[in-house]
């Protein structure tokens, strides 16, 4: 930002300055003290009265002389008072010398002391001579004169001695003064040096200060320019919340001029009223504890208030600038109204689009549901009508109705399954199953279709040590079926081969379905997995469909954590590859349901269904299976029926008028009417949340309508503990599927051809001397057909013939026996 100049002085300089500042006052005090002493001494020297002592001493001499003169001048009595006065004055001088502390030194000295004692003694003697009557004094004058003869010398001597002492004292004083003066000189010199240093330092500081000030002012003007040209509002606020700086962008954003804003409380100016309390709390918290939330937290979204009173979104970045005790908050604020508006618009657009998507999907799902129930009724009615021995023409019409109805149901189921997969529901549990068995069964079921189209459908399994795996058999079945059905659908002639192999020792199993069909153009190879995709009409080849097949397959595969891909070349064929994790398993296989319920016999079943057609249909199906059926048309009747009779199983519709299935089961369980009896829900609702709700109400399980005969039989076996009579004919399912797949008309035609082919083979076998390749091939072909029709024994026999030695004895009797059995079974379907 700016070039940071170190504003501090070098450490040494600072120490010198500090020391100078400490020494300076000491020196000053010392110099003042010494100066004062010098003044005192000088004053003492300048005063003439300093020689007071000398004066006193000399006065003593003067008074001695005056006294002497007075004594000599005495002629008569009148002169005596003058003498006495002079003596008194002389006396007072000597007394002073004796008494005054000034003369202590003199008195203590040997010479001075001796002299003074001499003088005092004489003074006393003279006082005795003088303090007498005038007559006596006149007589004493010669004596006084005698005393005074030596007195003069001694007084003089004393005075001289005093001078000596005085001179010595003066000399001591002079020396003392000299010493003080020399001390003073040093002190003043020191003072001068220190002052000089201080002055130098101050000069340096001044120069430095000026440089710093220039730097500062440059930095400040740069800063000023930056702040002024900022597109974000910049506010500087003190700890009381008063605005210190308010840049141009802030003026534009908030609508206040800088002059209006500066000095104002920020919270009153630009914080919306509903945020002020929070702001004050935050500020207080920070000032008390230093805890920060917004400060230094980067960009924070808040709301600001314009002068116009408009509250608008702002992005705020707040930081603290602290210099000593002076702390300010620097806020960068950006008006993000436009951005927020744009974001909101985008969000709304997206939400609208999603809502539209959902609504479409919901509509599709609901419509499909709604279609399925009446469709079940229609198909059921067709079933029943076909049993009423219709005329040939009627049978054709019924057939047309059935085909159309079944196709429609197929489409509806596709859509429902797609929405189920879309919702991420995968109700199927991981199970242990034999993959090879499953795939073989699947291929067998498709052999009829392949056969009818003249397509060779083959399977190659390479699953390694064990074909038993853990996975979702139904999902795999469906995905693989979709691929095989598609391949068969689009292949005019040639072959469809299914390859299944485990990739090395991994969990991955690869399923490949290859056909010799028309192929898919490169650009369409991804699109085919999308919903409702049907390729160009030329590839449709009159195949009806929703275009959901591959989309569903893809979803199923993805739900199993698998992958699906497609390779194709136009004119050559297509190869679909699924790779699905299917770890090998050692756990026991699930036993077939029928094996678990070996019992057989009639069960008492209560059907509760408000739809007359569906109820009739269910009744019919159960009666055909030999069950003892009771019907109820609503919840109330169901409760009554449960009260009156006892049942092995109750099948109950959920949505019924007045008392619905949930309420009915609640009443039945509350009154303990069907203790130990399972109640199974029948519903058209496939949504998982509905299932959860239903199971919670106490239903043993939920069956989604429509229910097939086989499912019904399984359900009875599972829930009523009885195996229905239908289970006696295990191969029936195959031929039913065959009829379903081809439609009765074509199926019957196929059966007739099949019977003729078998008769021809029998004739050829009985006449041919040995087993020719053509015969073997025919046996192989018929074995495949037999598998499709569920003729297990016949198929095995055909396979034996295919593999037999050329000259092996043919057991024609066994063939006749097995064939007659198969023919009897087939005739049941051929004449229908």
């Amino acid at each position: 930002m700016t070039q940071q100049t170190d504003w501090r002085f070098p450490l040494a300089s600072r120490w010198v300055l500090a020391a100078a500042l400490v020494v300076l006052p000491l020196l000053t005090v010392q110099s003042v003290r010494l100066g004062h002493q010098v003044l005192l001494r000088l004053e003492g020297l300048s005063t003439a009265a300093t020689d007071n002592m000398q004066w006193v001493m000399s006065q003593a001499e003067v008074e001695h002389l005056k006294l002497e003169a007075a004594v000599h001048a005495v002629r008569e009595g009148a002169d005596l008072p003058h003498l006495r006065r002079r003596f008194d004055i002389y006396y007072s001088r000597i007394a002073t010398i004796v008494e005054s502390p000034l003369f202590e030194e003199l008195r203590q000295s040997a010479t001075g002391g001796a002299l003074l004692r001499e003088l005092s003694g004489r003074l006393d003697r003279m006082a005795e001579l003088i303090d007498v009557s005038d007559e006596q004094l006149l007589q004493n004058i010669p004596l006084v004169e005698t005393e005074l003869i030596t007195n003069g010398d001694e007084v003089r001597e004393l005075a001289l001695f005093g001078v000596v002492i005085q001179v010595e004292g003066t000399k001591a004083k002079r020396l003392k003064l000299f010493s003080i003066l020399s001390q003073l000189t040093w002190v003043v010199l020191g003072l001068f040096v220190v002052l000089a240093i201080t002055a130098l330092m101050l000069a340096r500081m001044y120069r430095r200060g000026r440089l710093l000030a220039e730097d500062r002012s440059r930095a400040a003007s740069r800063m000023e320019a930056m702040i002024a040209s900022s597109l974000d509002a910049i506010l500087v606020v003190d700890r009381e919340g008063r605005i210190l700086a308010f840049n141009g962008a802030a003026e534009a954003i908030f609508g206040y001029s800088s002059a209006e804003a500066i000095g104002q409380k920020m919270q009153n100016l630009i914080i919306p009223p509903h945020l002020r309390e929070a702001h004050d709390r935050g500020m207080k918290r920070f000032l008390e504890s230093g805890e920060t939330r917004v400060i230094g937290a980067g960009r924070v979204q808040l709301e600001g208030l314009r002068k116009s009173g408009e509250v608008f979104p702002v992005e705020l970045s707040l930081s603290i600038s602290q210099t000593g005790q002076d702390m300010v908050f620097v806020s960068f604020l950006r008006d993000i109204s436009d951005r927020m508006a744009a974001e909101e618009e985008l969000r709304t657009a997206r939400d609208d689009a999603l809502a539209g998507e959902r609504a479409k999907a919901n509509l599709l799902t609901v419509m499909s549901h709604e279609m399925r129930t009446p469709l079940t009724g229609v198909l059921g009615a067709i079933d029943l009508l076909e049993d009423t021995e219709p005329s040939h023409e009627q049978a054709r019409y019924l057939q047309a109705m059935r085909v159309s109805g079944e196709l429609l149901l197929h489409h509806v189921n596709d859509v429902l399954q797609l929405s189920r997969l879309e919702a991420g529901v995968d109700p199927e549990k991981i199970r242990v199953f034999d993959l090879q068995e499953l795939v073989e069964g699947l291929l067998e079921s498709q052999q009829a279709m392949a056969l009818s189209r003249g397509i060779d459908l083959s399977l190659h399994c390479s699953l390694g040590a064990s074909s038993v795996v853990a996975g979702r058999p139904r999902a795999i079945q469906q995905a693989l079926l979709n691929l095989i059905a598609n391949a068969l659908k689009f292949t005019k002639e040639g072959a469809v081969s299914v390859d299944i192999q485990r990739i090395g020792e991994t969990h991955q199993v690869e399923f490949q379905v290859a056909d010799t069909g028309p192929g898919i153009p490169e650009e369409d190879q991804q699109r085919i997995f999308e919903d409702f995709t049907m390729l160009d009409a030329s590839y449709r080849r009159g195949n009806e469909g929703t275009g959901l097949g591959l989309a569903i397959t893809r979803r199923i595969v993805l739900a199993m954590d698998g992958q699906i891909s497609c390779e194709s070349e136009v004119g050559e064929g297509s190869l679909f590859t699924m790779s699905i994790p299917l770890p090998m398993a050692t756990a026991p296989l699930d036993m077939p349901d029928s094996a678990a319920h070996p019992q057989s016999g009639s069960s008492a079943v209560l059907i509760v269904e408000d739809n007359d057609i569906n109820r009739l249909l269910l009744e019919q199906m159960l009666v055909q299976q030999g069950q003892d059926v009771t019907s109820a048309a609503g919840g109330l009747e169901a409760v009554e029926a449960a009260e009156q009779g006892s049942f092995d199983l109750i099948l109950m519709d959920i949505s019924m008028p007045e008392v619905d299935g949930i309420e009915a089961i609640r009443r039945i369980r509350e009154r303990k009417l069907a203790e130990g009896t399972d109640i199974v829900a029948l519903t058209a609702h496939a949504a998982p949340e509905d299932h959860a709700r239903i199971l919670k109400a106490g239903f043993a399980e939920v069956i989604t309508k429509p229910i097939s005969k086989r499912e019904l039989a399984d359900l009875i076996a599972r829930r009523a503990g009885k195996t229905p009579a239908l289970a006696d004919e295990p191969t029936n399912e195959n031929i039913v599927q065959f009829f379903e797949a081809l439609g009765p008309e074509r199926a019957r035609g196929f059966l007739v051809t099949f019977c003729q082919d078998v008769e021809r083979l029998r004739a050829d076998l009985s006449t041919a001397p040995e087993l020719t390749a053509a015969l073997r091939q025919e046996a192989h072909r018929l074995a495949g057909s037999a598998a499709v029709l569920g003729l297990t024994r016949f198929r095995e026999l055909m396979l034996q013939i295919e593999m037999a030695e050329e000259n092996e004895v043919r057991d024609m009797e066994l063939l006749a026996e097995i064939w007659s059995e198969a023919e009897g079974f087939l005739s049941l379907h051929m004449c229908a």
Binding site: G44, T47, A49, N52, Y91, S92, T96, E99, S100, L102
Partner: protein
């Protein structure tokens, strides 16, 4: 300087008798102090001890550089005396028996300042003991009085004051 002063004083003494009328002391007793006021209205005043005492007696204790031990001085304060004389500025010329003369600034005549003492330790002062009057300062109570200048003004054996009014 001092000697010159003494000479002038001697001359003044010679001229003195005709200079001004000599006032009689207000009470009987020996005259201790003679004050000559010079100026437009020359006047000579004489004070006995009783006259001085009548102006207002005051006393203090102090040590001096001429005596040993604490002394009690009693007399009239210079302030009172100056007021009585009606002088407030200039200097007094104080003279002693032995012709010693010193100039005392009237600025010294303050409350708590010097007194013209006539008693020392309750005793009248003989000439032998620096009497009969002594201008003493309370040296102990004010350090400023412990100076050579003040010592020189502390005139003893005082007998006369000349002052210009």
């Amino acid at each position: 300087m001092i000697r010159l002063s003494s000479l002038l004083f001697a001359l003044a003494l010679l001229m003195w008798p005709g200079a001004a009328p000599i006032a009689q002391a207000a009470s009987d007793g020996p005259v201790l102090l003679t004050v000559e006021i010079k100026g437009d209205d020359p006047q000579t005043l004489a004070f006995t001890r009783a006259d001085l005492a009548a102006l207002g007696e005051t006393s203090f204790e102090t040590e001096t550089i001429w005596t040993s031990g604490v002394q009690t001085f009693t007399g009239v304060s210079l302030q009172t005396l100056a007021a009585h004389l009606g002088v407030s500025e200039g200097v007094l010329e104080a003279r002693a028996i032995n012709d010693y003369m010193v100039e005392v600034p009237l600025a010294d005549a303050v409350e708590g300042g010097p007194i013209v003492a006539y008693l020392r330790n309750g005793q009248e002062m003989s000439v032998r003991s620096k009497g009969p009057l002594w201008l003493v300062y309370p040296y102990d109570s004010n350090p400023a009085y412990k100076s050579e200048a003040v010592y020189s003004r502390s005139i003893w054996q005082l007998e006369r004051i000349d002052v210009q009014r």
